[in-house]
């Protein structure tokens, strides 16, 4: 049963990547890749966020800190060494892991809302530091030249689109593995009750650190290609609190109990946001995000996945 699910999952992932690749060969219009990149980026962010925020229950408002550090890791590497894209992403992941480790140490002393506030502070501190760092452009931001595109792609944005699709698959595969393994069970236990988990043999600190490191590495890596995508970076947009709020809203609206929840939430919200940005304005989509979050917190606190499993349960009870 587990095995069959696993095969189905990997077939699904391969089909998804295949479709993304074929799209870069067939679709000539550039807009779907620009919009698709943003949607894929939010799917990956929401999935990575929910490893710590969902499974472990440590609500991280610092997504924008990790994302921004990812962006500026790329900026720095390009400025200093002209490093290629894959090196940028890998380095961002390593730095994100270190940041996650530091964040994990915070969980030693802070829980609940105090942890969340500390993560906001983290964003502000790092943003302030980058704003005052001349080499990467400081407050004014910096223009970045894209290198020539690598075959088999013939357009840089299409390549970034495919790479973001790869990051989505990576994030989802890791999240799914965690949920189905002992790590997921331990995180769920410590989310419910840390002391009871510890007294049942769960190494809570080690698991929290692991969740922070994995989530942090992914969040940073996902941010890294954004510098090349925009060909420009400035602290106010790279560390924009919108990334934190959107990611959190997508995860919560989708539901964090299952790995597929954040995917559903991110597709739903970021597609809506893209449509609204094009049809009305980019300001309205922030409003819609807020309204949807409020509706879901009131109507379906466990998100879409929670709603589905509740409906399924009540139907089963109805049959019995």
């Amino acid at each position: 049963m587990m095995k069959r699910n696993g095969i189905a999952f990997w077939i699904g992932a391969a089909v998804f990547l295949g479709a993304a690749f074929v799209m870069t060969k067939v679709v000539a219009n550039q807009y779907p890749f620009f919009a698709g990149y943003v949607i894929l980026q939010f799917i990956a962010l929401a999935v990575a966020w929910s490893i710590l925020g969902g499974y472990a229950g440590y609500v991280n408002f610092g997504t924008s800190a990790f994302y921004g550090v990812g962006v500026y890791t790329s900026v720095f590497l390009v400025q200093a060494f002209g490093a290629p894209l894959l090196v940028q992403i890998a380095t961002a992941a390593a730095i994100g892991a270190l940041m996650g480790f530091a964040l994990g140490l915070l969980t030693l002393r802070m829980q609940g809302i105090f942890f969340s506030i500390a993560t906001i502070a983290l964003t502000i501190i790092i943003e302030t530091a980058v704003t005052n760092w001349r080499f990467v452009g400081g407050a004014a931001g910096i223009q970045i030249q894209r290198p020539p595109v690598t075959p088999p792609f013939d357009n840089y944005v299409q390549m970034l689109f495919f790479i973001q699709a790869l990051l989505v698959v990576l994030a989802v595969a890791i999240s799914r593995y965690i949920q189905n393994s002992w790590i997921g069970r331990g995180l769920q236990a410590l989310r419910d009750d840390e002391l009871a988990a510890e007294c049942s043999g769960v190494p809570t600190l080690r698991l929290k650190l692991l969740a922070c490191v994995i989530s942090g590495a992914l969040l940073c890596a996902i941010g890294a290609p954004a510098a090349m995508y925009l060909q420009y970076a400035d602290p106010a947009s790279a560390f924009n609190l919108n990334y934190s709020v959107s990611t959190l809203a997508m995860s919560l609206i989708g539901g964090t109990a299952h790995w597929s929840g954040p995917i559903i939430g991110a597709i739903l919200l970021s597609t809506t946001q893209q449509l609204l940005t094009v049809t009305i304005s980019s300001e309205v989509n922030v409003l819609v995000l807020g309204v949807m979050l409020v509706l879901f917190v009131v109507g379906a606190p466990e998100g879409i996945m929670g709603l589905i499993s509740r409906l399924r349960r009540s139907r089963k009870e109805g049959e019995a």
Binding site: W182, R185, G186, R191, D192, L195, A197, E198, G201, L205
Partner: protein, 246 residues
């Protein structure tokens, strides 16, 4: 008795002191508990009973003082490492993993604490036998949030048993239960003791303590004021004063 005939104590606490700021919750407590003993721990509210078991299970750091378990100094160990060495506990106010079913609650303990003793293949059998013993077999797939108070208490004991303990600390597992439920839980603890598990029972219900314990210790204001056979401790002048407040 010569020393050779005395079994080495399972748990040895040596001059344990615990302060919260200026308040001394435990003051130089020393006690030895031999394997297989049913040990009753009593004392008025705020006398340090729960603090003592928090120090044994590792939720609190002790300063100064030593906790020895099976001849090993476990004082510096984190709680989960103590659990893996065989110290399990229940909580005064039940702390279930509320997003899980009863079976999943036990699975956490089986996965993380008993993994050295029980193979993956044996886990579901072990779980079934614990749940059956605790009278929870029919509740295995029920969410923990839907349990009654007495079922929650039993689940706490079941989860503690799933860690494969040598020492089980029951912190007021009978508080707030009806008298027939008290008997039920007491019988459970008795049956666990018959499986060679040493049990420390904290309880306010004196009848239960008298019936259960081989030995009783009474704490008051962080000090041991009496220790010995239950009848002796109950007859002790200072114990009666501590309880009646005269």
């Amino acid at each position: 008795m010569t020393p050779a005939e005395t079994p080495a104590p399972l748990l040895r606490i040596v001059s344990l002191t615990k302060r919260f700021g200026g308040f001394v919750a435990l003051d130089n407590v020393s006690v030895e508990i031999p394997p297989g003993e049913r040990f009753g721990l009593i004392g008025p509210n705020g006398s340090g009973k729960t603090t003592l078991i928090n120090c044994i299970s590792g939720a609190f750091r002790t300063e100064p003082g030593t906790v020895m378990f099976r001849d090993e100094d476990i004082t510096p160990l984190q709680p989960h490492l103590r659990t893996r060495r065989g110290i399990a506990r229940s909580f005064q106010i039940p702390r279930p993993f509320s997003s899980m079913t009863v079976a999943e609650n036990l699975m956490v303990a089986l996965d993380f604490a008993a993994h050295e003793h029980i193979s993956v293949a044996q886990r579901s059998d072990t779980m079934t036998s614990i749940l059956t013993q605790m009278g929870l077999a029919s509740k295995a797939n029920v969410p923990a949030t839907q349990l009654s108070q007495v079922e929650l208490r039993k689940m706490e004991l079941a989860r503690a048993m799933a860690t494969h303990p040598k020492l089980l600390i029951s912190d007021e597992a009978m508080a707030g239960l009806s008298s027939s439920e008290v008997d039920e839980v007491l019988d459970l603890l008795m049956s666990l003791a018959n499986q060679h598990i040493t049990i420390i029972m904290i309880e306010h219900i004196m009848q239960a303590v008298m019936r259960f314990s081989d030995r009783v210790m009474c704490l008051d204001a962080g000090r041991i004021i009496a220790i010995g056979p239950p009848s002796e401790v109950m007859a002790n002048q200072r114990v009666q004063e501590a309880y009646l407040g005269t």
